[in-house]
């Protein structure tokens, strides 16, 4: 099996933990506007635990995602915990037995991951949730792949789509999660979960983009 691929994935998780820690307060503030102000703290806590759990990891590639998924499920709580838990467990199942990730492989993995999020949270596009960042990312990735793009190119395409999707949550009225309690008052605020999702995919593009270039 390809140890480099596993390292790249672990590196993605490490960089994501760093990126989330850097954005912790911003994510908390976004969540304070339309939720309860803890999304940054939840994600930082969860990813720090995931990174610790990965110390000296020497299993296979899918095992990384399984470990991260279980850690988030047991350490994050709130809505984000089970949702991101399902996300990474979805990646793990799709990549079972894979020993490297190519554009096509990642595309189907992301598809499974997003499906897991929707199964657990039942959110539709436009509900002003992380799904609004994840679905466009999934689709952009699929298109890039069918265009025969490189993994690096495909990853940045999906990262840009996720960022655009997160931006697009601002005017939306939330229909799921805490923010939905605000009704109309939730419009005009960017969704924290979509923001953290875009951050994770941006980090993937940066980290893997380099390693695969």
């Amino acid at each position: 099996m390809d140890a480099a691929a596993t390292d790249a994935v672990v590196d993605w998780i490490r960089q994501s933990a760093t990126a989330l820690a850097a954005e912790r307060d911003r994510l908390n503030r976004l969540d304070a506007d339309i939720g309860d102000g803890d999304h940054g703290a939840n994600m930082t806590r969860g990813f720090a635990a995931a990174v610790t759990r990965l110390d000296g990891y020497d299993g296979d590639l899918a095992g990384v995602f399984r470990s991260v998924g279980m850690t988030l499920l047991s350490r994050v709580g709130g809505a984000a915990g089970p949702l991101y838990g399902s996300f990474f467990i979805g990646l793990a199942s799709a990549l079972r037995d894979a020993d490297a990730i190519d554009a096509a492989g990642w595309s189907s993995a992301l598809e499974a991951a997003v499906a897991g999020v929707q199964r657990r949270g039942k959110a539709e596009p436009g509900d002003k949730t992380m799904v609004d960042a994840l679905l466009p990312a999934r689709d952009a990735l699929a298109i890039a792949v069918s265009d025969g793009a490189s993994l690096a190119a495909a990853l940045s395409a999906s990262a840009e789509a996720a960022a655009a999707g997160a931006d697009a949550t601002t005017p939306l009225v939330a229909r799921k999660g805490r923010a939905s309690y605000l009704g109309e008052r939730s419009a005009g605020h960017r969704d924290p979960g979509a923001t953290s999702s875009a951050l994770l995919l941006r980090t993937a593009a940066d980290v893997w983009g380099q390693t695969t270039r």
């Binding site: 304070a32 309860d36 803890d38 806590r45 047991s74 994050v76 709130g78 949702l83 657990r120 805490r178």
Partner: protein, 333 residues
Amino acid sequence: MKKLINDPEAVVREALEGVAAAHGDRLRVAYDPDYVVRADAPVSGKVGVLSGGGSGHEPMHGGFVGPGMLDAACPGAVFTSPTPDQMLAATQAVNGGAGVLHIVKNYTGDVMNFEAAAELAAAEGIDVASVLIDDDVAVQDSTYTAGRRGVGTTVLAEKIAGAAAQAGRPLADVAAVATRVNAQGRSMGMALTSCIVPHVGTPTFELGEDEMEIGIGIHGEPGRERVRLEPADQIVDRLLEPILSDLPFARGDRVLAFVNGMGGTPQIELYIVYRRVAQVLGDRGIAIARNLVGNYITSLEMAGCSITLLKLDDEMISLWDAPVDTPGLRWGV
């Protein structure tokens, strides 16, 4: 941020250690995963009653663990729902063979985590029933929202379901009475001030010196509307109207009237609130058969209150009056 804490990240852990030190004779506290459980759990043949939620609402839920109420409670991080591994471990700890009831407040996070826990417990062959509490009339219940939030009625459901379990009722009955309590309970809250989540360090929202938030949630979620400060009687009327018209409560009904403090409001003010509640219900011919006044489901140091009305029947009354022996509610023992 001015708080009696050591480390913002260690607040829940250290508070649990304090609970263990104070109530070790009656409660046991487990760590990693965290839960508070009756010292004598599991009670064989008795339905286990389990609840949980974010911390910062004390005495709910940990303060309601004990004979006649909860068998165990799972504390999450402050204002963040606990996780499936906690719920699974607590479910195993209180399973006396008659199954376990999960009392779940209707928040996306709580619901999803309890769902995952119930799947895991079922996989281990534990009989689990879940009852969702969604009594907050401040939130319009519609398919376009996550539905109503679980607030004050949770305390009443935990007491009444706990008494039913203590009486040896089977899981289906205990779940049924909890469901009925939720169906007949309605709440609404308000805030005079915000609160500060320790690991955040700044107020969850800002309120002007002359403003108040009506329809606030118990996690500092902004409420229904922000209006100018008013005298207590008008505030009570604002909270009661949607509660009364929602069920609706009618002349001749017997209710439990629950005036709850959000944590930073002194008792003397809660009784001024209760005074008006009693006046209004009296005028409408609604009889207050039981009442509860105090800080039971709080939002850290938030100043404000919530009002819960529960339409009672004879069974609920006798279960409410049944002995309860917890740090937060104690009588008949």
